[in-house]
């Protein structure tokens, strides 16, 4: 991150982080505002676009990389965190954001989510949670309510929804926040803090799918700012997250766990030195 860069120019605006490519999303989709929040966060930090990489998997929400003016990587379904981990460990100089949906991150990519939290590589993971698979046209995801009726699960899955924030906290994420796409400025502020915070930062953004979950338009009336500041005590954070109403917005936990240790260190030897152990 080049926070220290002293610009001899006007700071970049959010527009400087948008590409000219037009999103494919349905009109009214929450993801438009999340894209806008991401660009605002990058502008707030005035990061050099080519030193930022946005990595994603597959889903409506995973389309974000190409809509930014940063380097993008649009990989396969569920593996965004893995690709981003490889990129960040190989290129610690880059700012790496990961974006995606609840299906991508919590279902097919669930294992990577746990291990990315544990590993604590310096990534910022923004999940647009709409409690549904949007791209494949309306199937239940791990955060879908058990009684939500759909063609694939008539009458609902009957399966308990997953609590991503608690899982993130329990798995070791170093920063846990909840945001709402209907508040792009608040979301931008949270994402900017997540980028600056060292280690693995997790931002769950409630982002309505107006097409398959039109009732989520009502989220705007349910959300409210968290009444207290973020804690650095995971036990307190867990209690708050487990007992809140699910619409409590803001940074909920800011930890100070040791960063990932496996980044490349300066070379102590050359390739030819490695031969020595084989020589007779």
């Amino acid at each position: 991150m080049d926070l220290a860069e002293a610009p001899a120019r006007a700071p970049r605006t959010a527009a400087a982080y948008k590409s000219s490519y037009k999103p494919i999303w349905c009109p009214g989709c929450g993801d438009f505002s999340v894209l806008s929040a991401i660009t605002k966060a990058l502008a707030k930090l005035d990061l050099t676009p080519e030193n930022v990489a946005v990595v994603s998997g597959i889903g409506c929400s995973s389309r974000i990389p190409a809509y930014t003016s940063c380097y993008g990587f649009h990989g396969v379904h569920g593996r965004a965190l893995a690709a981003a981990t490889g990129l960040k460990v190989a290129r610690p100089d880059l700012t790496v954001l990961v974006t995606g949906g609840d299906g991508d991150g919590y279902s097919i990519g669930g294992n990577h989510f746990l291990h990315a939290c544990r590993r604590n590589v310096d990534l910022t993971y923004v999940v647009m949670d709409n409690h549904v698979y949007g791209m494949t046209k309306g199937q239940p995801s791990p955060t879908t309510e058990p009684d939500w009726d759909s063609k694939l699960s008539p009458g609902g899955t009957g399966v308990r929804a997953f609590h991503p924030l608690v899982i993130a906290l329990a798995s070791g994420a170093n920063f846990v926040a909840r945001a709402f796409s209907g508040d792009p400025n608040g979301t931008a502020e949270v994402i900017a803090q997540a980028i600056v915070h060292p280690g693995f930062s997790f931002v769950e953004v409630l982002s309505p799918c107006v097409t398959f979950r039109p009732e989520q338009r009502d989220w705007k009336d349910a959300v409210h700012p968290a009444p207290v500041e973020a804690t650095d005590d995971p036990a307190r954070a867990a209690r708050r997250i487990m007992t809140d109403d699910g619409f409590n917005l803001g940074v909920l936990y800011k930890g100070n766990r040791a960063p990932y240790k496996g980044y490349p260190a300066p070379a102590r030897a050359g390739v030819a030195d490695l031969e020595k152990e084989f020589e007779l």
Binding site: A90, Y263, V271
Partner: protein, 580 residues
């Protein structure tokens, strides 16, 4: 083939000794020291490890072959089997074939050798390994066995001492175990049965003692790999365990991933970041990785996947060798997904072939799968130092602010400059979705056709030079083979040549893309072929038939693992086939 020349394999065989015992008996240590001593005395050789199914403490055997010249594989029979105890050692009977001239050496306290070993007519010799060790305070029975086996082979006592001193730490232990080695040497006097090695020839080249897994890891690093992500799996793990500290020394990194889905996507991400990247796995892991390899094809991201093949399908026979992943490696990706598949032809060649795989992946911005196997990976050999290949491995990247930059531009070669994050003015999104030249997702007929053509062209049209295969000898009959199967095939052909029987040998190193024109040229004047491989369904033969015009007279010799192909049986098969 100036650089990747295979080690010359002589028709004649050297000394073959198997050391066996139950877990904790120290046979593997004794075997390793025997090979080290042979190397120290100026010989070549190799040691193949085999063990029972137990995780720790099961029976194990070290299968050695030592010769004055480079040796790549095992012989048909063992001259001696030295067992520290009989525990479950009868399990290895198929892997340790003996002859009437062989000696079976067993622990005196355990009585006769198992019937299965005596059936060959081999002579039994009882040696009090345990009692001898007990009589020398602080010494171990496996060191007595080391002295015994070393003396049978005709290795100088000093070389055995030097090898032992290299691993023993405390002064008392050293003294006691050197005495144990001497006792073993003394006990072997007059036993016979093994023709002792002739003195080694003079040596000009530097030699290495290396396993195929280490060789592949080192070759990858020579090729420029600086990032590895992988999930442990037998028999690939040692490659990763060698690479982890090696990468740390040279400024690289290795991440232990949560699974193979993660490993392959991690290396795709790292390589997208401009760092040559690799993963190593075995069949089950390769199966999990196929979606990610497809992503590397579509997004044109260079990666190298080393598959150290083992018995399959499924968990199969994890610690035994088989060439059963050729089909998944060549055909296992979804969609039309041109990529590279290579196979090292010997333990030493694991260095060059893996280096070449990295170079090709980087140059062609495509995934390369390297088909090693348990035999190559886990065996350790004394080899001439493999030369570093002078390969142009540079990934083509755009200048900063390259005008009108298009990541997936349709170029004559099919390769288009790949911008690396940080480069100004060339921002793009790498995509597994089909895309336009500029990288914008596209389901357009024209874009799809263009990109499919581009990705196929860059792989098909590249000039792979001479390295695609080793083509040796002349004759109207040719043996075509690949990977570790080529070791026994090469020795078989050399034996036949020594008898005046001419057979051409074609060992493919580049499996995909199949060099059909070069293969046709190599088959010029050949009227029949025998395709040799180690799997149950003749995958290589079927692959060749699907792509190449082989002579109408063709035969397949294929057998699944875990038994290695033996040069003698291949020589007989080839001779019979040739005379048919």
């Amino acid at each position: 083939m100036p650089n990747a020349s295979p080690q010359k394999t002589h028709a004649a065989g050297g000394v073959s000794i198997a050391l066996a015992g139950s877990g904790g008996s120290g046979v593997m240590t004794a075997g390793t020291l025997l090979l080290t001593a042979a190397a120290g005395a100026g010989y070549y050789g190799l040691m193949v490890r085999t063990s029972g199914p137990q995780i720790r403490g099961g029976e194990a055997a070290a299968l050695l072959r030592i010769a004055p010249h480079p040796i790549d594989g095992l012989d048909d029979r063992f001259d001696a089997l030295v067992a520290l105890d009989w525990g479950n050692v009868q399990r290895f009977a198929d892997e340790i074939p003996l002859a009437a001239h062989s000696v079976v050496v067993g622990e005196e306290a355990e009585g006769e050798a198992p019937e299965i070993y005596r059936a060959s007519g081999a002579r039994y010799v009882a040696v009090p390994f345990k009692k001898t060790a007990k009589s020398i305070a602080g010494s171990w029975a496996n060191m007595v066995a080391l002295g015994f086996a070393g003396a049978l082979a005709g290795l100088p006592r000093e070389a055995l001492h030097e090898a032992a001193k290299g691993t023993l730490k405390k002064a008392e232990t050293v003294a006691a175990n050197l005495a144990a080695i001497d006792a073993g040497v003394a006990a072997a006097q007059g036993v016979g049965g093994v023709t002792p090695l002739p003195p080694p020839g003079p040596r000009s080249r530097a030699r290495w003692l290396i396993s195929g897994n280490e060789a592949a890891g080192f070759g990858a690093i020579r090729g420029g790999v600086r990032f590895v992500a992988a999930y442990p799996i037998t028999p690939a793990t040692e490659m990763l365990e060698w690479m982890a500290p090696a990468l740390a020394k040279i400024g690289g990194a290795l991440v232990q991933a949560e699974d193979e889905l993660a490993s392959v996507n991690m290396i795709v991400g790292a390589s997208y970041g401009g760092v040559p990247s690799l993963t190593a796995t075995a069949g089950p892991g390769l199966a999990l990785m196929t979606e990610g390899i497809g992503l590397a094809v579509a997004s044109e991201t260079p990666i190298v996947v080393v598959d150290v093949m083992r018995g399959g399908p499924s968990t199969g026979i994890p610690a035994k060798s088989e060439q059963g992943d050729l089909a998944i490696a060549t055909q296992g990706l979804h969609g039309d997904a041109p990529h590279l598949v290579l196979a090292p032809t010997s333990i030493a060649d694991c260095v060059a072939t893996t280096q070449w795989a990295v170079a090709l992946a980087e140059k062609l911005q495509a995934p390369a799968i390297v088909l090693s196997d348990q035999f190559l990976g886990q065996s350790r050999a004394v080899v001439d130092r493999p030369d570093e290949l002078a390969l142009d491995a540079k990934r083509i990247v755009p200048e900063p602010n390259a005008p009108d930059y298009k990541r997936y531009r349709d170029t004559p070669s099919g390769v288009s400059p790949m911008a690396v994050p940080g480069n100004p003015g060339t921002v793009y999104t790498a995509d597994g979705l089909e895309h336009s030249e500029g990288g914008i997702p596209s389901g357009n007929v024209r874009d799809h056709q263009l990109q499919l053509d581009k990705r196929a062209r860059k792989i098909a049209q590249h000039d792979y030079g001479e390295r695609w295969a080793d083509v040796e000898g002349e004759g109207e009959a040719a043996v075509i083979t690949f990977g570790s199967a080529s070791i026994a095939a090469r020795e078989a052909v050399a034996r036949l040549a020594a008898q005046g029987v001419r057979v051409k040998l074609i060992v493919l190193r580049l499996i995909a893309p199949l060099r059909t024109a070069e293969l046709a040229r190599a088959l010029d004047g050949v009227s029949r072929v025998l395709v040799v491989e180690q799997n149950h369904s003749a995958q290589f033969h079927r692959y060749l038939r699907s792509l190449a015009d082989l002579p109408a007279r063709q035969q397949s010799f294929h057998r699944p693992g875990p038994l290695p192909l033996r040069p003698g049986e291949l020589a007989e098969t080839i001779a019979a086939w040739r005379n048919a």
